[in-house]
Symmetry: C2
Amino acid sequence: MTKQWIAGVDLGGTTTKIAFITLDGEIIKKWEIPTDNSNEGKNITVNIANSISEKLKELGQTKDQLAGIGMGAPGPVNYETGVMLNTVNLGWQSNFPLQASLEQAASLPALIENDANCAALGEMWKGAGNGAKDIVCVTLGTGVGGGVIANGNIVQGVNGAAGEIGHTTAIPEGGAPCNCGKTGCLETIASATGIVRLAKEALSMPGVAGELAEKYSSDGSVSAKDVFDCARNGDSIAIKVLNEVACHLGLVLANIANTLNPEKIVLGGGVSKAGDILLNAVKSQFERFSFSSVKDSTKLALATLGNDAGVIGAAWLIKNKLLEC
Amino acid sequence: MTKQWIAGVDLGGTTTKIAFITLDGEIIKKWEIPTDNSNEGKNITVNIANSISEKLKELGQTKDQLAGIGMGAPGPVNYETGVMLNTVNLGWQSNFPLQASLEQAASLPALIENDANCAALGEMWKGAGNGAKDIVCVTLGTGVGGGVIANGNIVQGVNGAAGEIGHTTAIPEGGAPCNCGKTGCLETIASATGIVRLAKEALSMPGVAGELAEKYSSDGSVSAKDVFDCARNGDSIAIKVLNEVACHLGLVLANIANTLNPEKIVLGGGVSKAGDILLNAVKSQFERFSFSSVKDSTKLALATLGNDAGVIGAAWLIKNKLLEC
């Protein structure tokens, strides 16, 4: 029997995750390689192709075992053509033909999708989405990303910019500046960076006290994890920051749900590791701001695949293509 | 040649619009009948079926001319089963099997969709959407409704509640009460009713003067149209109301666009007849709040089909079904 596996690739700015995945979405083997951005990014696809070949050899397999390579890439992608539209972080020129480059290097069929969309597909297929055909995934990491799946398919949008949930305007007037050039984006509040910013703001008030304040004054720094840990212990400043995050995030998610009424909204990324203390705070705001029949039907959930969502979702691209044939 | 036409029906609480439409979406004949809500709504589908039969006879045609009946209905619909989930306004019990009832009365295949979704499909097919596969339609009427089309298909959501854009929370704290039970919904601001409310609020301030204030004091009432007419003449109170509407509507639409990056967002309904003065005010706020690559690609436009959008979109349901076969 041949073509029993798919190679799923999650291309990051510094590290590339690769996995061999069965047609049922089970990971057989996963590993990482550094992403080599030098030489205008010309080594990236060659390194991935070589690494896949070596790993196949280690496992006593040949390329015949692979149905193809699905890859998530960090930036807007034209899914039809496999061209990356904006790839500054990876050294490539704009409009880099990533799919063609990977297919040539690996001599295998390849499909490319935005990495946040791949994470969403992964959660839909094997994670918190549990096969639901309408889900929205929000990745709360250093930034805030998103993927929207409607009727079982990724919504890419006309310019590949669908899912830019991090750049939803949460504070219309007087919000903090965002890297995107706007102000008041959700990313300035609900990302790890945003939570740290809010915490530092709260801790700069005169007369603050408590666990988070003590930690800040002894370490000279504070992390999003500190905020959640201290909130769990009842620290009032940490709880205030948590509530501020939850209020804005819950409102944005409720408005997305009022528009799309997905079966699930899945929260992933490093910040979501805070777990129930975050989920429950966001849920209570979500319920406040969502239309009654949406509130009754759209569920919030934590992502379950962690760092594997990207490679699994990337593999789904190939799986789905095979099903269409 | 048989089955050259589709019957498109737009079922309203007081009036039902019906049209014979070609497979290319051109209206051959359109007319209206009153909607008879008495007798637990039992006459509704029978009246529609009879009216279609009579009109065919008038035109010297038989039922063989019709490929089927597509109908938009005012409320959440399970498209797969053709069951209406909530139909208080029409006299039916909850979970009324509308598709089955219409098919039995008319002896023709029927498909049912929510009326706002039908309007969106109509605009996609023959109106402002101009064939775009990703569009969002917002109907600014007595209330605010919406329809979302992604990848060429209506997004219904898990509970049929997708597109409830009118119940997006525009004012999280201290907003006006909405019919839905929440406060601060977009509908309380950007519907005809909402605009009148804002105008009356502005006109209740001490020392107001100008065209809108004079109209209000002489007529004892003010309409959304009055606000736009006076704004067009430079009346400062009317312009203030217009800007308030545009600010909230522009923000909500920008956030929808940041999530879905549709090719077009189409504004329809009675309020949209205000035309460019509304469109331009909303555009400027939309551009302020949208992510750069969304701003560059998602266009705002006025609906072009007017009251015909519903029957044309309803006919599209049948057209699309025929294409699938």
